[in-house]
């Protein structure tokens, strides 16, 4: 490469507004050839918008994109593909019912050609896979592959189309630690071959590990570009959030009696997500984290412990009582529930804040003779807004208007206060939270973690189900790993190594893992 070579990618003054929201504000960036550039930023910082503009899904209001020195026409995904840009989305875009081969070749053949050079395509595919260590069976159906394997197919798909610039959107969010390590190895092979990579993430350690340079985005603006070598993690976190981040603190407290027991190999099924055996017991005052790759039964476990589905086998007891699968019984038994999908399940998006605040308890205590006690309901909602610092909208605004973090505060507030104005009147016995910080910014994550730690210090048993291993490690007293609907023993957090958890997440038996 000579100095005269244009960079792989040059963005100049990219701006994009959505209504009143400025998603990208005059962003200028260059990506050198053979470079790994990390885009670091919180949710809503504008990373995804920028990528969508690059790939032609959106048209920027202002600014230009140059690929290898040639301007990229805006709003034409096929032009981006032709220019050598490949994207691996966070949510994969693969056809489950087709084979790996078909998925990779799909869209590269001429539409009206009668002949299909399958053998030739296969040779090329296998050669590409071998070159970069992307081991997959070309004849396997994508539906049967693990998440890590599917990601490899996505990368292979981009490489098969001769991508010279690869954009990876939050690639590690669904991977086990081992799979993530394999991905990083692949990336270094790609870079050695001359590819340029944009790596989007909000996880600092991995960004520092894989990238050459880091571009930090905040509120649509590029706030800093730093070399990764010698970069300071704490300083980057501050740049990303815009202020110093307070870390949640755990207070020492005693563990109490067992409050929730799952015995007799409980099983349940929610859509495609099945539980086979999740024996577990939770004691008052402790946080038990459930780690695992998503889609291994977490959803069914959360619904089972939220009173939404019945166990098809085994029993679930809370405070000594078997509760029937009706959420009203669970809230009445002082179980606080926070669902994984806060927009679609946690709130009725079109309902006002105060209506959502009472949704779990609108019959009791917020009605008399079938008529809603509107003033009492509003007072209660206001109390939640004040105590949990829900910002951004008034009591009469629809919940839709809240940001993710504020929405989560509202849901958490509703669950943890149990319909009482005075915090002294109610303590939950059991708190079941699922993906509680998914998509939240660093400040909101710390807030949610602190609320959970405080609640457990006051005596609640907390079950934390999360795909984010860092989160599980950060707050849990004990950790169990879920794989294919089965739960490992819940061992103290200190008794696990990260590698052991990774192996358990991938389904390796614990004995074998220990022997290895």
């Amino acid at each position: 490469m000579t100095a005269a070579d244009p960079p792989a990618l040059r963005l100049a003054g990219i701006s994009k507004r959505f209504g009143g929201i400025v998603a990208n504000d005059g962003i200028s960036l260059t990506l050198g050839r053979g470079e790994v550039l990390a885009l670091l930023g919180e949710n809503g910082a504008g990373k995804s918008t920028l990528v969508s503009i690059l790939f032609g899904h959106y048209v920027a209001d202002a600014g230009t994109v140059e690929v290898f020195g040639r301007p990229l026409p805006p709003g034409v995904p096929s032009a981006a593909l032709a220019a050598g840009i490949g994207i691996v989305h966070q949510h994969f875009t693969l056809a489950d019912n087709l084979t790996v081969h078909d998925n990779v070749v799909l869209g590269t053949e001429r539409l009206w050609s009668l002949r299909s050079d399958r053998a030739g395509a296969r040779t090329r595919l296998l050669a590409t896979a071998a070159k970069f260590g992307l081991r997959v069976d070309p004849d396997a159906r994508v539906g049967t592959l693990s998440v890590g394997q599917r990601q490899r197919v996505e990368i292979l798909k981009a490489l098969y189309r001769d991508a010279r610039i690869l954009i990876l959107d939050e690639p590690t969010s669904v991977l086990t630690p081992q799979e993530a390590a394999a991905l990083f190895a692949t990336l270094s092979k790609l870079v050695a071959d001359g590819l340029s990579i944009i790596f989007i993430s909000h996880k600092l350690p991995e960004v520092l590990r894989v990238s050459d340079r880091i571009a930090v985005l905040r509120a649509g603006k590029l706030v800093a570009t730093v070399d990764s070598a010698g970069a300071d993690g704490a300083r980057l976190a501050e740049l990303m959030v815009g202020r110093a981040v307070r870390r949640p603190v755990a207070r020492d407290h005693a563990r109490g009696d067992t409050v929730c027991v799952l015995t007799g190999a409980p099983a349940a099924r929610v859509d495609g997500d099945a539980l086979v055996d999740v024996s577990l017991s939770l004691r008052s005052g402790e946080i038990v984290g459930i780690a695992g790759v998503s889609g291994n039964g977490q959803e069914a476990l959360a619904e089972l412990l939220s009173g939404l589905v019945a166990a098809t086998r085994g029993t679930v007891r809370v405070a000594g009582r078997a509760l029937s699968p009706d959420p009203r019984n669970w809230t009445a038994a002082a179980v606080a529930r926070v669902p994984a999908d806060r927009f679609a399940v946690g709130v009725v998006a079109d309902f006002s804040l105060w209506e959502n605040a009472i949704a779990e308890r609108y019959r009791n205590p917020f009605s008399i003779g079938g008529v809603l006690r509107r003033p009492a309901a509003r007072r209660y909602a206001q109390a939640i807004v004040d105590r949990f610092d829900v910002r951004g909208a008034g009591l009469d605004a629809p919940a839709r208007a809240l940001s993710g973090g504020n929405l989560q505060k509202l849901i958490l507030g509703r669950a943890l206060t149990g319909g009482f104005l005075d915090p002294a009147d109610f303590e939950p016995v059991l708190i079941v939270v699922s993906q509680p910080t998914w998509g939240l910014d660093v400040g909101a994550v710390a807030d949610v973690h602190q609320r959970l730690l405080d609640a457990s210090a006051r005596g609640a048993a907390v079950l934390l189900i999360s795909d984010d291993l860092d989160e599980v490690l950060a707050v849990s007293d004990r950790i169990a790993v879920i794989h294919a609907g089965r739960l490992t023993d819940a061992r103290p957090a200190a008794a696990w190594t990260r590698a052991e958890i990774g192996l358990a997440m991938a389904g390796t038996p614990q004995e074998a893992a220990r022997a290895a």
Binding site: F18, G19, G20, I21, V59, G75, S306, G307, L308, D326, P327, R328, W330, T331, R337, P339, A344, V345, G346, V347, V348, A349, D350, F351, E355, A359, E360, Y362, R363, S367, G370, V371, L372, R374, A401
Partner: protein
């Protein structure tokens, strides 16, 4: 060009939407009037005069509005809970048939039941008939996921054929010279006239009171809360512990019951017996009314009055100028489409790429 969701939509726009839709509709139909070769100004003036221009016009409009308010309420309440009841027409006929079955069939034979008892029984029968007719498709949907749009729509035709069978069979009026017409309701079960020497009957009072009651139920009661929650997001409602299936079933009973009641009120207030053409599509027009009203019960009263005025006014207009009465159907249909588009623009904005 693409549609982009608005972050906030204004209440003013929400209220203005039906007026904008109606204004647009009148502009579109203006072209048709011009095509028919009639003077546009005079046509609309005649239509307005025929619908709202005199005491007589108002009385006819309100008579026509009475069943429309009830079917409009029926649809509005169902749509609020995302129960797509397209079967108000059939439920209306079922209610009318049930009303005559209770209040007309046994005439002369058996013990005489006093009107004070038979009248509520007649209304109850019509409510039950309509409710059952909607409850079946609703249970099929909540239990097995059968699309209720299809089932309720197709049930309309089944009910109409059933009515036809009854009118030519067990419920045929032997004195009707062979016309397919049911036996008449007992005289003392007919509704009183609200205004003397007009056709406006006390059914209008029932309809308006029910609209007010429903507005209260929706806004202030736990049942209304649950119903709105299920309609807005069934998954979120289920998570919060609101019984989705039971709420849907109750909504079906309410919605079907209202449409059934419309049938009974129509028989008791206007026709006196059931014929196959007693409803010129009141059930379907109820959908338009509910949409124009933004699914608001009180708005239904206003929208039903407006649509009734258009229907009545176009009748008298067509006698004055050479525009067929079908123009009323066009107005009703176009106003539904433009209302849907207007609602879309309240929630989304159009952006050039």
């Amino acid at each position: 060009m693409r549609l982009e969701a608005r972050e906030h939509y204004s209440r003013v726009a929400l209220v203005a939407a039906p007026f904008a839709a109606i204004a647009f509709t009148l502009v579109v139909t203006m072209l048709l009037v011009a095509w028919a070769g009639a003077p546009i100004g005079r046509t609309y003036a005649l239509m307005f005069a025929g619908g709202f221009g005199s005491r007589f016009a108002w009385s006819e409009t309100l008579t026509r509005a009475t069943p429309l308010i009830l079917t409009g309420l029926s649809v509005a309440i169902a749509f609020r809970a995302r129960l797509w009841n397209i079967g108000a027409e059939g439920q209306l006929y079922a209610g009318a048939l049930a009303a005559v079955a209770v209040g007309g069939l046994h005439g002369g034979s058996g013990p005489e039941i006093p009107a004070s008892l038979l009248f509520p029984a007649m209304l109850a029968a019509s409510v039950v008939a309509g409710a059952v007719l909607l409850l079946l498709p609703t249970l099929l949907r909540t239990r097995f996921g059968v699309d209720e749009v299809v089932t309720t729509l197709l049930l309309n035709f089944i009910v109409l054929l059933f009515v036809s069978m009854m009118l030519d069979g067990p419920m045929k009026d032997p004195t009707a010279l062979g016309w397919p017409q049911s036996v008449a309701l007992r005289d003392d079960l007919q509704l009183d006239k609200l205004i003397p020497r007009t056709r406006v009957h006390t059914g209008l009072v029932y309809a308006v009171v029910l609209a007010a009651a429903l507005a209260f139920v929706l806004r202030a009661t736990t049942f209304g809360f649950g119903m709105r929650a299920v309609g807005a997001s069934a998954r979120a409602a289920a998570f919060a512990g609101i019984p989705v299936g039971r709420t849907m079933a109750l909504v079906a009973v309410l919605s079907g019951g209202l449409a059934g009641l419309a049938g009974a009120i129509e028989v008791a207030g206007r026709t006196g017996y059931v014929t196959l053409d007693m409803s010129p599509g009141y059930g379907y027009t109820g959908i338009v009314i509910a949409m124009l009203a933004g699914l608001n019960p009180l708005g239904v009263v206003a929208a039903a009055t407006f649509i009734a005025g258009v229907l009545v006014g176009s009748d008298s207009m067509s006698r004055g100028v050479s525009v067929p009465t079908y123009i009323a159907d066009v107005i009703v249909a176009v106003s539904l489409v433009s209302m849907l588009v207007a609602t879309l623009f309240v929630r989304y904005r159009l952006r050039r790429r």
